[in-house]
């Protein structure tokens, strides 16, 4: 049984990495377990300047999920490189930097800043941010804008670029094909679905930002569907995410076509979930007849053995 996973720029001991924004820069979790156990780490979104983010409350619980509106709080790319990437460089752990911005220029500047350190192995391009120049349209819901920012970042980057797709679109394959054509080395999907919760006492949206991103098991069926659809129409690798809680969930993502996976919200439920999934994965793969991670990728698209009838 091998968990070894190879995708552009990344040779992973195993296909499990914490999702961006759900693991900070790894410091807190490094006090709980050895980060070297992870396949990789996707760090919190970086912008050019430091950002305070949204007002609180920033999170709300929903049925089998949660809403968040952190608002990209981060100390800015330079501080991240100096204080956080340097810390993570002590580990034998591929680092994926999540890049955010409000203009193409900002995305490019953040990407260029990251190229100053040799410790970033890949860029995850977070196109779910509103484009201030285009009046707030999200890069992630317009294929032309998405292709444009992808091409520019790709040019600025020395490492492979994974474009993180937003699920808030009518047609995910159009988005995926647009960024693939623009040069994306891989895809990361899905980001959160936009949602809201209204507090009955205050008669207001509970989050200070009103809307927030829905994550957790609630959205897993949407993630699986989108990955399955995109797998049939693109050929670049996919880092899958959205509601993963267990090693069985990981296998479902692999079958759908993900090459590796990220775990987000589950870290809040159980801070040890990543190492626990990594530990459980070999047995689960074996149980369902696989002897490696790579063997399982995309197998949900073939007709396998039939639903075993139970006697």
């Amino acid at each position: 049984m091998t968990l070894l996973t190879r995708i552009p720029g990344l040779t992973l001991k195993n296909p499990i990495m914490p999702a961006s924004g759900c693991f900070g820069f790894g410091r807190e979790y490094s006090e709980l377990f050895d980060l070297n156990k992870l396949g990789a780490i996707i760090i919190k979104a970086a912008t050019l300047e430091s950002r305070y983010g949204n007002q609180t409350p920033r999170v709300a619980e929903t049925s089998s999920g949660m809403l968040n509106a952190i608002g990209l709080q981060n100390p800015g790319v330079e501080a991240i490189i100096d204080n956080e990437v340097s810390f993570l460089a002590n580990y034998d752990l591929p680092i994926i930097a999540n890049v955010a911005g409000s203009t193409v220029e900002e995305y490019v500047a953040v990407t260029k800043a990251f190229t100053r350190t040799a410790n970033i192995d890949a860029i995850e391009l977070n196109i779910s941010c509103p484009n201030v120049k285009e009046g707030g349209i999200q890069f992630g819901t317009d294929p032309t804008l998405a292709a444009e920012v992808t091409a520019s970042v790709k040019q600025a980057s020395k490492v492979p670029v994974y474009v993180k797709l937003s699920p808030n679109v009518s047609n995910i394959t159009t988005m995926a094909r647009a960024v693939e054509s623009a040069g994306a080395d891989g895809l990361s999907m899905i980001n959160t679905l936009t949602g809201m919760q209204i507090n009955l006492n205050s008669r207001r949206p509970l989050l200070a930002n009103k809307t927030g991103g829905l994550s957790g098991p609630a959205i897993k069926p949407v993630a699986i569907r989108m990955i399955y659809e995109v797998r049939q129409q693109t050929s670049i690798p996919i880092i899958g995410m959205g509601g993963i809680m267990t090693a069985e969930d990981v296998l479902e993502f692999l079958l759908a076509g993900a090459n590796a996976v990220a775990v987000g919200t589950a870290n809040f439920h159980n801070p040890f979930v990543c190492p626990e999934i990594i530990e459980a994965l070999p047995e689960v793969l074996a149980k369902y007849g696989f002897s490696s991670v790579e063997q399982a990728v995309g197998k949900g698209h073939e007709y396998g053995h039939k639903d075993l009838s139970r006697t």
Partner: protein, 256 residues
């Protein structure tokens, strides 16, 4: 911070909608300082993903028993209220930073608690008392039915009970009592709803003190930035309540 599974050894309704639970936490209690909290998985499969933060209300180092007190206000605390003696609780502990009492020079402490802000102050008062500090407690509740731990605070020093409606003790807010009643103290320590903390911090702004604050949490370990609070020093800085707090110096952070 550790993740562990503990077994409930007692459960008591100590006031209206208010429940006291105790559990053994062998090997973990010596790390606990007053003001810290535990982060509880309230169960129910994946329906309730976010843990609930509940303050540590008391610790018995000899028996390694931890006490928590919570009020039923929503689905999570309701679920918690249905656990029975013998049931397991999946918790993270100890979380956050408590009252730095070992670093303070003080002879007399004023404790100001409101509602479910009272529990962490009890363990604080007990530790202060143990260190020879004279403790005066002012604890406020909605009404008589919600009052708890008055006699326990009385064992440690003076205790004034205040109720919003005057159905028990002094009528009004804790700040009204502080206006009325001269109390000598070196430091104050306060925990309660934000409105109360604001009133207390304003009224006592020239005194040394610590407050403990609440915010909705994601991770509870400092990684997700859900629970930030701006600092008051004009640097655009911030603190994480789950990690840097919940205890802060009064006026260190902006109460929102």
């Amino acid at each position: 911070m550790n993740k562990t599974s503990v077994t409930i050894i007692s459960k008591k309704i100590i006031a209206k909608e208010t429940i006291e639970l105790t559990f053994h936490a062998e090997g973990y209690v010596n790390q606990i300082s007053p003001g810290q909290f535990i982060h509880i998985n309230v169960g129910n499969g994946s329906s309730n993903l976010l843990r609930r933060p509940i303050s540590i209300a008391d610790v018995d180092v000899d028996s390694q028993i931890v006490t928590i007190i919570f009020k039923i206000v929503g689905v999570g605390t309701d679920q918690l209220s249905r656990t029975e003696v013998g049931d397991k609780l999946d918790i993270l502990l100890p979380c956050g930073s408590g009252y730095p009492i070992n670093q303070l020079e003080l002879d007399r402490a004023l404790i100001i608690g409101g509602g479910i802000g009272v529990p962490p102050l009890y363990y604080l008062a007990k530790q202060l008392n143990k260190q020879g500090v004279a403790v005066t407690a002012v604890i406020g509740f909605q009404s008589k039915d919600y009052v708890f731990y008055e006699s326990k605070f009385k064992e440690l020093g003076n205790c004034h009970v205040v109720t919003d409606d005057g159905s028990y003790g002094f009528k009004g807010f804790v700040t009204d009592l502080l206006n009325d009643t001269p109390i000598d103290y070196d430091y104050f320590f306060s925990c309660g709803p934000t409105g109360m903390l604001k009133a207390v911090s304003t009224q006592l702004k020239n005194r040394n003190g610590y407050i403990s604050i609440e915010q909705r949490m994601g991770c509870g370990v400092g990684a997700c930035y859900a629970c930030v609070v701006p600092t008051n020093d004009g640097t655009n800085g911030f603190k994480k309540i789950c990690k840097d707090g919940p205890v802060f110096q009064a006026n260190e952070v902006v109460l929102v």
